[in-house]
């Protein structure tokens, strides 16, 4: 796909620079002449949106770091100082705090897009793996950022998450002590998390460059999952993709601004406005919404070590996906049965997210008490998360590999541009 360059230096300076550092050529080939499949829909605009999110986090983050103090005694007050005294500090902080949530909304959509259209399949495995690495780095960055205001949720969230590593036999305790830099979560922990929170977004930026490089080698997938075969199948990135991406970004920014200006604390927890107190744990401790499905998986398993392993394995599934899927057809458009299981998977993730935010023993249907199954009533969030967890793993380990072998798929169009007669939707929406 990357083909050869069509860049023509126009001015003398451009010619001079082009033979020394062809940076304008690189930009031109990447963002202007780059051929994109002509049938990309709005689910393909989230890559651009994610780049925007990373930019917003880095700019607002660097500004926050100018006013923030990474010290257990001063962190909480310095965030309050940002909120009350620093000019527009409230705006910058609300952009950063809500920006993290927006970033995760976008990344989840981006990932499920890949899942639906089979974008992880050959030859895009490395592209997919790089994406999974970015996601892991984002989770680490978001977690460490949430520690910085040093409120009650920051503190006890850190205690719980760092203690996860204590589940490993023999080395567990040494790892947690090493992470903490002491006998408990304390000032050394806060300082190192700030250092890493500052660093990781730039590591993410580096991996994003690799991700885009890999993308430009193999080319974009598209809603049909059929590779472009001729010029008729593609359009140049500019103006087609730039304008579509720009429009999608604008809509996304409206959502972002709605949170920042009208409900800046809706996605946070009131408890984090209470300064950290190691002696009292908040009655209901939950992580940020974007970790809730994994938190539910952790709690679904009654054994400490197995729970931790299940949680890591649930992320590992995404890494293994390119080698688990046996189907030759990329897009779920032509796989009606797989489509059904996909939507159940989406539902299972949402259910897990919901369960992760509730107390395990609370009833799902209020007021209904049945009997005790194992350790609790089947009408409880812990049992609901067990069902969803079972489906989550079955989807990757059984459904995806088996379905690819046994499913009867619909006919796939020859090319992107050819009238897609096989498409279930009216043919005019294609082309």
């Amino acid at each position: 796909m990357s083909g050869h360059s069509t860049y023509q230096p126009k001015t003398g300076f451009e010619r001079w620079l082009d033979s020394r550092l062809p940076i304008i050529r690189l930009a031109h080939d990447t963002a202007v002449s780059y051929p994109t499949p002509r049938n990309l829909n709005y689910w393909w605009t989230f890559g651009g949106i994610l780049t925007l999110c990373l930019g917003v986090q880095i700019i607002t983050g660097i500004i926050l770091a100018m006013h923030y103090t990474a010290s257990a005694d001063h962190a909480f007050n310095s965030v309050e100082h940002i909120m009350r005294d620093v000019n527009y500090g409230w705006l910058i902080r609300y952009m950063h705090a809500n920006g993290a949530s927006m970033f995760f909304i976008a990344v989840y959509i981006h990932m499920f897009r890949g899942l639906y259209y089979g974008s992880y399949k050959a030859p895009r495995e490395v592209l997919w793996l790089l994406g999974c690495i970015i996601y892991l780095l984002m989770m680490a960055t978001g977690f460490m950022g949430y520690v910085l205001p040093w409120g009650q949720m920051s503190f006890h969230g850190t205690v719980v998450i760092t203690n996860l590593f204590g589940a490993f036999p023999i080395v567990g305790e040494a790892i947690t002590t090493w992470l903490w830099g002491g006998f408990a979560v304390d000032n050394p922990t806060l300082n190192r998390f700030f250092s890493l929170h500052y660093l990781l977004p730039f590591v993410i930026a580096g991996v994003v460059i690799l991700h885009i490089w890999a993308l430009h080698v193999v080319g974009q997938n598209n809603p049909t999952g059929v590779e472009p075969k001729s010029k008729a199948d593609t359009v140049p990135f500019t103006p087609y993709a730039t304008v579509k991406d720009g429009f999608a970004m604008s809509v996304f920014l409206i959502l972002f601004a709605t949170f920042v200006f009208y409900m800046p604390n809706a996605l946070g927890h009131a408890d984090n406005y209470i300064p950290a107190n190691p002696l009292v744990t908040p009655a209901h401790i939950v992580p940020e919404w974007y970790y809730l499905p994994f938190y539910a998986i952790l709690r679904a398993v009654p054994d400490k070590l197995m729970g931790v392993l299940a949680m890591f394995a649930s992320i590992g599934c995404f890494f293994a996906l390119p080698w688990l899927d046996t189907s030759k057809v990329r897009s779920l458009r032509y796989r009606p049965t797989a489509k059904l299981y996909f939507w159940i998977f989406v539902l299972a993730c949402l259910v897990l997210g919901y369960c992760g935010g509730r107390l395990p023993d609370d009833p799902v249907i209020p007021g209904l008490k049945t009997f005790i199954l194992g350790d609790s009533d089947p009408n409880s969030f812990v049992w609901l998360s067990r069902i969803a967890t079972a489906y989550y793993f079955a989807y990757f380990a059984v459904i995806i590999p088996v379905l690819g072998l046994v499913e009867k798929t619909l006919p796939v169009p020859e090319t992107i541009a050819s009238p897609a007669l096989s498409h279930p939707a009216p043919a005019k929406t294609e082309a």
């Binding site: 006890h156 090493w178 709690r299 009654p302 023993d361």
Partner: protein, 184 residues
């Protein structure tokens, strides 16, 4: 030249035992570099372990006279909560009575207190599941309840129900006098 066996050419600077000498130099060089790299990496890893002054903040003394029967005081020790509980005779009786009940981490109540000072229950107040601070009075065993994932401890701090694998940990402590303890 047909009488010259291929490979039999002798080059004075390239004798037949040379390859192994060369291998040796390669292995030695790589080993030295790897050893050097490991020696440099270790300080970069170890710097994250507790610093000298953190390790030095090890012990505290506490005046038990402040704690009435049936009361619990929580103090901070090594950054962690420490429960100092003056148990009622009923709590002690309950703990002793359950000594032989089936438990995940079996222990006798007498082994979790100092001899003759059975009323003093001194515990590290972090749930052994993922470290939250349990509250006293919750759960069905009359002891501590952890709000995070529902672990239940009895009046001896032993794990009775929930995901926590171990009893609440006991710090090292000694009675200096009848009313003073030194912890750590």
């Amino acid at each position: 030249m047909s009488n010259l066996a291929v490979g039999a050419t002798t080059d004075p600077g390239h004798s037949s035992d040379d390859p192994s000498r060369r291998d040796f130099i390669h292995i030695a060089a790589i080993a030295a570099a790897a050893g050097g790299a490991a020696a440099v990496v270790w300080p970069f890893i170890d710097q994250m372990n507790p610093a000298g002054d953190t390790l030095a903040l090890a012990s505290v003394e506490f005046d038990l006279g402040k704690v009435m029967q049936g009361q619990q005081v929580t103090i901070k020790w090594r950054g962690k909560p420490l429960f100092i509980r003056n148990r009622t005779p009923a709590e002690i009786a309950k703990a002793v009575q359950d000594d032989n009940a089936s438990m995940k981490d079996p222990a006798k109540d007498a082994d979790r207190t100092k001899e003759g000072k059975q009323q003093w229950m001194i515990l590290i107040g972090n749930c052994t599941h993922l470290g939250c601070v349990p509250t006293f009075g919750g759960g069905e065993y009359g002891g501590w309840f952890c709000p995070c994932h529902g672990s239940v401890y009895d009046t001896s701090g032993r794990i009775r129900k929930g995901p926590a694998p171990l009893n609440l940990a006991l710090p090292e402590y000694a009675f200096l006098t009848d009313t003073r303890v030194k912890i750590g």
